[in-house]
Symmetry: none
Subunit: 375 residues, 2 copies
DNA sequence: TCCGATTTGTTCGTATGTATG
DNA sequence: GCATACATACGAACAAATCGG
């Protein structure tokens, strides 16, 4: 039998997970050995091996005749180190994505100025990775956590870990999106308004057939879509369902471009403008439309999102929604320090959260509609 | 059976006594399990129970296939904190610079797979900031450091900190550049060759007046400049001193563009090609030349460096030197873990360092010279 | 206080997998 | 490739402590 899949290790992990999720609290009795035998369909020996190691690692303690109980890890392990605990964890979905470095840097500079260390973690937008990281943070020694939620559009399977963080009095703040059930301190752009601004700008320029292309497995994209729809409603414009293109992390490389290609084929009611999930997507689409001989913005206007480096470096400078990257990072850092200092208990009146008002930076990728130049 | 006379406890006591009597010394092999079974006339399970507890108490350690050995208790006591030390510091000059996130991510993914935490620090390419960070790392609890040297071209005022890290047996590896005095384990691109490739490609295309624009306050830029000169030498080409533009971090926003502007004014012996310090610089220059009505690559060829996201997203796709970003990050991570495991002492024969062979990715920003199209 | 059910503690036997030299 | 050593896993039995009735 392979070591990595050792049964006793699975049992260990399971028990440890339950502790970290807060399902078993200090001095609470865990299942008896015979119960665990049934549950995992293993021999008593195997159960005892698992429990034995957890006892040695300080997670549990045993009392003959009474049972096995959850140990109080804080006292034994942390008390000595705790005073010097100046570690902050920053958890992002994609470190290398183009706007994150700026956010991280904003946070890092503020935190290091205040004597904190910054550890970074990467979920790759995957729940199991997020779980692993939360597990690690909970069993290590962090004073606070700045986290961007994974797959923020769906219900979160790791909710228990967040609740346990609250119980363990480890403050956390969320950036860019949030799990609303938790009502966390959060820092994010008003994405509904952002999507609204993107769309309204084009409507004001006379556009009527506006395609939107949004990634909808995170809350950001879903909210931007809401804003896109809202702008149409407010202007009493008919909304063509065909003009709404959505994609997920999994198919982000193919679907947006394929679907837009399909739309541009039909010359009747052809779109005159496109709002995009972010600047990077715009640039990829610009490549494609250039090959097709479509001119931007004369034939087709584009609005980006994030106002990233790309928006300024591209040939056609992008009209884009300004994302307060660096400021957001600093604000999140300031808030987490405040929470740490206040021992995670702030006055009800003091709302640390911030919803940033988006603004549109108008450059050269959008122009008034010109019917004579229709594609 | 009474607990006080538990067989496994007797075995424990016997082994412990032998160690304390000096009959078994550090790293000496004790009797195998089967020998102990015969000696004490007990089952294997009982022997394992005794040994298991002694392992947990730090008296022994086991090696599968080899045997069970007497542990060095002095060390284990001192390094009991170090056993759990799974923190790696990554120190970069500019976190948000466009290629760093990819390097960091390469390192982070490998390190987190191996159970390490990653802390990041940012020197902003300033010595005093580097000093602050090194101070902090030395006074905290890091198992290893991956660092990009600050101002790598000049003599380093923080050398003592590096020497002290060696004394404290904190392994470090350098990326992208190195302080040669230290002869560190390092991972970097062969920048001389990179600059050579940039230039040689243009010479091969028939260009003779080639401008180079390099940042020379780091070793990367200085080496690329060397490569640029070397390419001219090898091809027996006259080198026009006016064609060498250098700049520093402080004036990177103005000097490159101003100097190039100056050069292009003079119609006599006007350059036909430009090699740049990195892709980002190329894109900024592309903006400027576009305004001037200069076409790329017809009138003026450009070669970038790093093969970044920008090279593929720009309108004119950039010919650029490939930087092994992610691979370099992983390699550095692998090396630091190896150094930690080997307690910073590797065999002289085992050279962990790696100098990456650069390659040129040819895209559309370079073309054969065409005298008829001279600017 | 004692009983009985439950729970952990100790010990035996056996078998097979995996790493080392 | 082989013997040896440790690693994982099953089954069974009895001892000792705890707890509710």
């Amino acid at each position: 039998m392979g070591y990595s899949e050792a049964k006793y290790k699975k049992i260990k992990q399971s028990i440890k997970t339950n502790i970290l999720k807060g399902l078993i609290t200090t001095n609470e009795k865990i299942s008896s050995e015979s119960q665990l035998m049934k549950e995992f369909k293993v021999s008593r020996h195997t159960v005892r091996l698992a429990i034995g190691e957890l006892v040695n690692e300080g997670w549990l303690y045993r009392e003959q005749g009474a049972g096995t109980f959850c140990a109080d890890r804080r006292e034994s392990n942390l008390s000595s180190i705790n005073e010097n605990n100046k570690n902050i964890a920053i958890v992002t979905t994609f470190i290398s994505e183009y706007i994150f470095p700026t956010i991280i840097r904003g946070a890092e500079s503020y935190l290091s100025e205040h004597g904190y260390n910054v550890s970074i973690f990467n979920t790759n937008n995957q729940y199991n990775q997020e779980e692993k990281i939360l597990t690690q943070i909970l069993s290590s020694n962090y004073a606070g956590v700045i986290i961007e939620p994974t797959h923020s559009a769906s219900a979160n399977p790791n909710l228990k870990y967040y609740l346990n963080m609250e119980k363990e009095k480890i403050p956390y703040v969320m950036i860019n999106a949030m799990y609303e059930e938790l009502e966390p301190v959060s820092f994010s752009l008003d994405d509904v308004k952002g999507g609204f601004l993107q769309t309204k700008h084009l409507i004001d320029l006379g556009h009527r057939d506006i395609v939107c292309i949004y990634k909808t497995d995170d809350a950001q994209g879903q909210n931007r879509l809401k804003g896109y729809i809202k702008a149409h409603r407010e202007c009493n414009l008919r909304l063509n369902p065909k003009n709404i293109i959505t994609y997920q992390t999994e198919n982000e490389h193919s679907k947006p471009i394929d679907d837009l290609k399909e739309l541009l084929k039909v010359k009747a009611d052809c779109p005159t403008a496109v709002v995009c999930y972010n600047d990077q997507l715009v640039l990829r689409l610009l490549d494609f439309v250039r090959e097709e001989g479509i001119k931007v913005p004369e034939h087709l206007s584009f609005v980006g999102y994030d106002d990233s480096l790309l928006a300024e470096l591209s040939e056609v400078k992008l009209t884009s929604v300004i994302h307060p990257k660096s400021e957001l990072g600093r604000d999140a850092a300031r808030a987490i320090i405040r929470l740490i200092q206040k021992n995670n208990q702030i006055d009800p009146g003091e709302d640390l959260s911030k919803l940033y008002e988006p603004q549109l930076k108008i450059r050269h990728s959008t122009a008034p509609i010109d019917k004579d130049l229709a594609i």
